[in-house]
Amino acid sequence: MRWVTAVPGRRGAFLLGAAPLLVLALGYVIASAARHSGNAADKILPLPSAMVSAMAGLVFEQDRLSGQYLFWADTLASLGRLAAGLGIATLSALLVGLVLGALPRVRATLGPLVTAIAVIPPIALLPILFITFGLGETAKVALIVIGIAPFMIRDLAGHIAALPREQVIKALTLGANSWGVVLRVALPQALPRLFEGLRLSLGPAWVFLISAEAIAADVGLGYRIFLVRRYLAMDVIIPYVAWIALLAVAMDLALSRSSRRLFGWAHGAAR
């Protein structure tokens, strides 16, 4: 079969996809061993054994002071913030992106504003952000929302604006008013793209979550990473990062599966 048409089966795809990840892991182990043969106390690329022992305490042992399993407490806290941030961002992307995409006048009015907000690096305005939202959970969620919502809005608006003009015309001849077009034509076709935009935003969302937790927090995956960074404790940081990657890839997969299930029409059936 040709390269452009050969689609590997389920098992083949799994094996192919796993290969580079395994190669990467192997490469790490070799690099780490090499560094350790030079300097046995190297902290930058810890050996897998060191990571296991460092993580064991966080995963399986209750913290004496707080009585929590730190790793799980961190995970829960971060996931909670992430869910809130992604939820709000998605909702606002849907609302704003939809009208922006479907109504040219609104696009003309708010488009430049959204672009400006999208390109302003929120981390440059952290002081204002924390002053506005306080040092609590709100600020962390707000940073995620401000970080990813403008992107999601623009992506969705672009998709809606690119829908064939014939569809709008057709809906109008079927008796729709502008609201009807938004509700029954633009909205349903926006949803699969929203899932796509959400998938693309997962990476930035984690970046902003980690940044927010680095500034002010007392629990969370990002907090722990920044806490132990002072000691260059890569034996904790690398497993934490791998865990983040695993969580994110799982979310990505879940999103892509749900989209296929919910919006089969958008994923070109067997044809």
């Binding site: 300097n39 106390a41 902290k43 930058i44 913290d63 004496r64 002071l65 707080s66 952290l126 002081p127 924390f130 002053i131 306080g134 040092l135 937790e213 680095a214 500034i215 002010a216 927090a217 007392d218 907090y223 920044f226 806490l227 132990v228 960074r229 002072r230 000691y231 260059l232 404790a233």
Partner: protein
């Protein structure tokens, strides 16, 4: 965002910011161990200790009025809130850095070797001050090196890179950085004892309306000091708990404490604050800060920011005093009147 009226009014709830540093770990420990609650109950107030991972951000939030008090070094208290017009009272002198801050070089064991290098440090912080003092003491000028601004959270990792050969930092990072092959601390705060002070500062207006806050903080601090100074199992347990809060182990934390001169005795702390040495130190600090432009564009001289010291001494603009070294509450502790 406590407006002016709110700041001046009596209240019962207060937010105090802290960040990770050997000399400040007693505060979160006291909260965890119930000492904060105990003193709060005694004076009928509630104090929340808010951890801010990023030190500068904690001071900014205090300046912006989001926090009523914050842990801060003397120089930053002067250049951030005080220079920003926020009337600030330093009510607890916790310690001075006695080796916690250091200039580190790779492949050289004297300050002279720093000449011409790129020095990685948090610019305009106490590290910058330490570097200036180290150069001055070795007949060098700031222009003999090139500084590269590096955030305090990243500096340990940065020093691990082969092309970084000179850095200035504070603990706990310094301990980590000394472990880098070929690295040596060529100048530390132990060479300039008493110049880098670690304080608890609060908003003067809030304090005036709520003197109980000052009393409670002093009570908390010195009770915790007494506990952690104990050379028995109880003291060791307290120190181990602080180590854990700082994300490190007991042994490393003890090492950091060894380079921190803690004022465990309130009388000694009061004496240090009243000493003329403090005026000398602060004069040096403000001259350095002014020379670096830390008082802002509008400042015309080093006198732009006013400071007051125990016994009515002042420095700078008497009409605009915004940093007050106020030993009242430490004195109450020394007198056992809390």
């Amino acid at each position: 965002s406590g407006g002016e009226d709110e700041a001046a009014a009596p209240r019962t709830e207060f937010d105090i910011g802290w960040s990770i540093y050997a000399g400040w770990m007693p505060w979160p420990y006291a909260e965890q161990a119930g000492i904060v609650k105990k003193w709060g109950d005694k004076y009928g107030i509630t104090m929340r200790f808010v951890q801010v991972n990023d030190y500068i951000e904690s001071v900014n939030q205090y300046t912006a009025g989001k926090l009523d008090g914050v842990t801060v070094a003397n120089m930053d208290a002067l250049t951030i809130p005080a220079a920003g017009g926020k009337d600030t009272s330093a009510i607890i002198l916790g310690d001075y850095s006695n080796g916690n801050d250091a200039v580190l070089l790779k492949g050289s064991d004297s300050v002279a070797g720093i000449k011409g290098r790129q020095v990685y440090l948090a610019e305009l912080s106490v590290s910058h001050y330490l570097l200036a003092r180290a150069l001055e003491k070795n007949a060098l000028k700031l222009t003999d090196v090139k500084t590269v601004n590096t955030s305090d959270a990243d500096i340990a990792a940065a020093f691990g890179a082969p092309d970084v050969t000179a850095a200035v930092a504070w603990n706990p990072q310094v301990t980590t950085m000394k472990g880098v092959p070929g690295a040596k601390a060529v100048f530390t705060s132990a060479d300039i004892p008493g110049e880098i002070l670690d304080l608890m500062v609060v908003d003067t207006k809030v304090l005036a309306a709520n003197p109980n806050l000052g009393k409670a903080l002093a009570g908390i601090w010195f009770e915790t000091m007494t506990l952690m100074a104990k050379q028995d199992a109880e003291g060791a347990a307290a120190r181990a708990a602080m180590a854990k809060l700082a994300g490190t182990d007991a042994q490393a934390f003890e090492g950091q404490l060894a380079t921190t001169f803690l004022y465990t005795d309130p009388k000694a702390a009061v004496a240090a604050m009243a000493s003329p040495d403090l005026v000398t130190t602060m004069t040096r600090v403000r001259d350095f800060s002014f020379a670096q432009g830390l008082f802002g564009q509008g400042a015309r001289s080093a006198d732009a920011v006013g400071m007051s010291f125990p016994g009515g001494k002042t420095l700078g603009d008497k009409a605009a005093i915004t940093l007050r070294f106020d030993p009242t509450y430490m004195q109450l502790a020394a007198d056992g009147k809390l």
